[in-house]
Amino acid sequence: MPRAFELKINGASRQVETDPRRSLLSVLRDDLDLTGSKYGCGEGECGACTVLLDGRAARSCQVAVEAAAGREITTIEGLAKDSKLHPVQQAFLEAGAMQCGYCTPGMVLAVVALLGQKPKPDEAEVARALQGNLCRCGTYPRILAAVRLAAGIAEERKR
């Protein structure tokens, strides 16, 4: 049975009436037209649907809308403030960390979450944090470079 929910998305309150077990991803995309969160697998394996829930990275395809109600939801659309890009978005642009860009919103949010927990992650920590985010175009080295840029850390010495 559909129920009414209040979702706090990107600082604004949004009302939706829906089946409580529907995924947050489909509510974001289909009901609220926030299509920056992407569908890549629907089984929690690719990270294309990554959003922030209370500042932590979450796979919105695996989160029921009822579980998201009452929490702070940040989607890629809410990251830039006053038309100023978030530093992580800026870093992705500077590092050219994309090809088709389909993984990019999820990657950006996963990096925002990572840097929120760990402002200066080392290479292994970045790899671990992003292991669940697929980039089929293979831009991982550039994403790593973007993380370094955003975190203001120099490149580790390569052997």
């Binding site: 690719c46 642009l93 994309m98 090809q99 985010n133 390569k158």
Partner: protein, 723 residues
């Protein structure tokens, strides 16, 4: 545009300078173009007749610009009355950076910054006909066309200024979006020159292009066009499109390949409120106001299927060896033959025979096949992600029985393709369901559908027989590829006795293009086999290649990779080095890999970690070094998947691993230290680069594994045993 205007030639109201007579009603086209683009200056680039015929598949069928443009037009560009530059091409952006590099090409010749050029791509109502974004053709074919059109536009703008100022055009030059007088410094904007005009210029192949040594915009690491829309999530891919009143479509899939629909009971599904059913022969689909309702309706369809026996995976390579089946040529035709294999083998000091296999793999683009279809007054518009907008337009026209002129395909920049989006399955499905539903319908394939109902890179079996002398000279080379394809099947090595052939087979799974096609399989077999020969003859694998090579470009990438890698230095215990080289589609690549490997007890496949991969790549003059590096690294990383662990598993016509949890693709932690050396050959034309860097990743790693632990792996993926 080689000839200049005679003095006093009247430019107004328009001028047609044709080097080849096109069959185009220019007056009609003119109206259409200006209607689409507004006033100003339009340059149409005509292809040489042969190229045009090829593009159009030999006829006039493939017309662009909504069916009103002849196949002879390769590209067009428009300079608006405000000076805005818009360029139109049938190529699409699928992540390979074409939107950026094409804009650079136009900008270079027009002497404007790259970000001031807008590219309109992949909309069949606006762009010239194009055979598709495939085969690394965007750079070698479309870049020169757009440059010619832009160079012609620049010259025409100079003519306009010369006429206005009554000056010798030799004193004028174009720079920064203006025509400037070199003596007086007087300058005029392009927009000012085109204001109030409707000029059409038709040009052939003659316009002179700026040489690479003088490039200012090309050759620069121009950032990706539209990057801000990607990092903010604003860009709408096909799967993000929506229209008012749109329904969500789902397609009924057979339980296995080769199954046919016997009967369908849709009563229950149709009873769900808002659900529409679409049936057309063996096709059945549903549409509903939400994805979830569409899923429910799909689940409520009661279908009866007739299945037929399908190939068992264990028989795959046997079956591929049997050839194409009844009535088809079983022998295949040699791709290349010279000398005598038997004599070459007799002259050898060492002889070797081995067989290599490659598995079916999936493209698995992160954006699924998706399409939104809308019918209006019998005309169809479809937004979809594809590498072949005109091909899909044809598919739609045929499947739905409408003329191509009534079909418009719009391709938003797409969430990648890798050769996997040449077809329009989702487009046809959405159009069918939309017609039945009488409303716009969006179909987005699930990951499972994507893994099952798309097509695969062909599996293949490759048999090689060869001989080598003690000094490393290869005397015989017999190479036969079953099923996977003939791309890059011919070696660049100088071998006196040679027979190379491809034999098509009846593939049990649906197969098609994949980044670099069979070049990857053929390089895997060839470069692995060379390593085996080197080991037999006791010669360093790099040295063996050098001894049998004359091609200076291949030698140059080999030398560059070996130098960067430090080929020949000592290895630590459990470490191995491997080398491989290749050539395809006009570009050259060489790799050196370092792996850490250990034989795993009780398992046929060893434990392997790729530690470092050096890639040296050369594709002529580099258009955009940053984008090129991105492409090379991306292809190498994608290649790691096919080399190490990607394989489609199947049984009884079913795909057994249709999910990312079961089909492993490269992830962050799989990426070794990558070292990419780009060789810039300003003296050579630019070739495409999206494909070739993938071809030799697997043999470089396989050779390194052998070097580390003496185990020769002859199947891709290397780390999956074939049981």
């Amino acid at each position: 545009m080689n000839e200049r205007l005679p003095a006093g030639f009247d430019l107004e109201p328009e001028r047609y300078e044709l080097q080849e007579a096109p069959f185009l009603d220019l007056e009609l086209a003119r109206r259409d173009f200006f209607k689409a683009a507004g006033g100003g200056l339009i340059v149409l680039l005509f292809l040489p007749a042969a190229a045009a015929a090829q593009e159009a598949g030999g006829g006039r069928r493939g017309r662009g610009f909504g069916g009103r443009m002849p196949a002879e037009i390769g590209a067009w560009l428009h300079i608006g009355e405000d000076g805005a530059v818009t360029s139109f091409t049938g190529k699409v952006e699928v992540g390979q950076g074409s939107r950026t590099s094409l804009a650079q090409a136009v900008a270079e010749e027009l002497r404007v910054p790259a970000d001031s050029v807008r590219m309109v791509m992949g909309d069949t109502a606006l762009v010239p006909f194009d055979g598709g974004t495939a085969g690394s053709q965007t750079t070698p074919a479309m870049v020169p066309q757009l440059r010619r059109a832009a160079a012609a536009a620049r010259e025409l703008l100079i003519d306009l200024a010369a006429r206005e100022w009554k000056e010798d055009r030799g004193l004028l030059e174009a720079a920064g979006g203006k025509v400037i007088h070199s003596r007086t410094g007087q300058a005029v904007d392009y927009g000012k020159l085109t204001r109030g005009r409707k000029l059409v210029e038709a040009v052939g192949a003659g316009a002179a292009l700026t040489p690479a040594s003088a490039w200012k915009v090309c050759g620069q690491p121009v950032p990706r066009a539209g990057g801000v829309d990607l990092v903010t999530g604003r860009h709408r891919y096909a799967s993000d499109q929506r229209l008012p009143g749109m329904l969500y479509g789902k397609v009924l899939r057979p339980p296995a390949f080769g199954a046919s629909l016997v009967s369908l009971d849709a009563k229950e599904a149709e009873a769900i409120e808002g659900v529409m059913l679409a049936r057309d022969g063996g096709f059945a689909g549903v549409a509903a106001p939400s994805e979830r309702e569409a899923e429910r309706a799909l689940a409520a369809l009661k279908a009866e299927w007739k299945t037929s026996p399908q190939t068992a995976a264990k028989d795959l390579f046997e079956i591929l060896k049997q050839g194409p089946g009844e009535g088809r040529d079983r022998e295949g035709r040699p791709e290349q033959e010279r000398g005598s294999i038997e004599e070459g083998l007799a002259a050898a000091d060492f002889r070797l025979e081995s067989a290599y296999t490659v598995a079916y793999i999936a493209h698995a683009p992160l954006e699924h096949r998706a399409a939104l279809a809308e019918w209006k007054d019998g005309a169809l518009t479809v937004w979809t992600g594809t590498q072949r907008p005109f091909g899909v337009r044809g598919e739609l026209a045929r499947a739905l029985g409408v003329p191509e002129e009534r079909v418009r395909v719009i391709v938003p920049d797409t969430g990648s393709g890798y050769g996997g989006k040449h077809t329009g399955e989702a487009a046809v499905e959405a159009a069918r369901i939309a017609r039945a539903a009488g409303k716009p319908v969006k179909v987005v394939w699930t990951r499972e559908e994507e893994f099952t109902w798309a097509y695969f890179r062909p599996a293949g079996l490759i048999e090689v027989r060869s001989g080598v002398k003690k000094d490393g000279a290869i005397t015989a080379w017999e190479f036969r590829n079953y099923n996977s394809g003939a791309s890059a099947i011919r070696p660049l090595y100088d071998i006196p006795n040679l027979k190379v052939e491809f034999r098509p087979s009846r593939s049990p799974l649906r197969q098609g293009s994949y980044r670099a096609l069979a070049a990857t399989a053929n390089h895997f077999a060839r470069e692995s086999h060379l390593d085996e020969l080197a080991r037999q003859a006791g010669i360093d694998p790099l040295e063996l290649r050098r001894r049998n090579l004359k091609d200076p470009r291949l030698l140059a990438v080999l030398a560059a990779a070996a130098e960067r890698f430090g080929w020949g230095r000592a290895r630590a215990a459990g470490r191995g080095f491997g080398i491989a080289a290749g050539f395809e589609k006009g570009s050259y690549v060489a790799y050196c890999a370092e792996v850490a490997a250990a034989a795993a007890t009780g398992k046929p496949a060893p434990e392997v970690k790729v530690e470092r991969l050096v890639t040296a790549f050369e594709c002529g003059a580099i258009l955009n070094p940053d984008n090129l590096r991105n492409q090379v690294e991306g292809a190498v990383i994608m290649g790691l998947g096919g080399a190490l662990f990607e394989a489609i598993e199947f049984e009884d016509g079913r795909i057994l691993n249709p999910r990312f949890s079961e089909y492993r693709v490269p992830r962050f932690g799989d990426v070794p230290v990558l070292d990419t050396v780009l060789l810039d050959r300003k003296d050579l034309p630019s070739a495409g680069a999206g494909e070739t860097p993938i071809v030799g990743v697997a043999p470089a790693i396989a050779n390194a594994i052998f070097d580390a632990i003496g185990l020769r792996l002859r199947s891709m993926p290397l780390l999956k045993s074939r049981g």
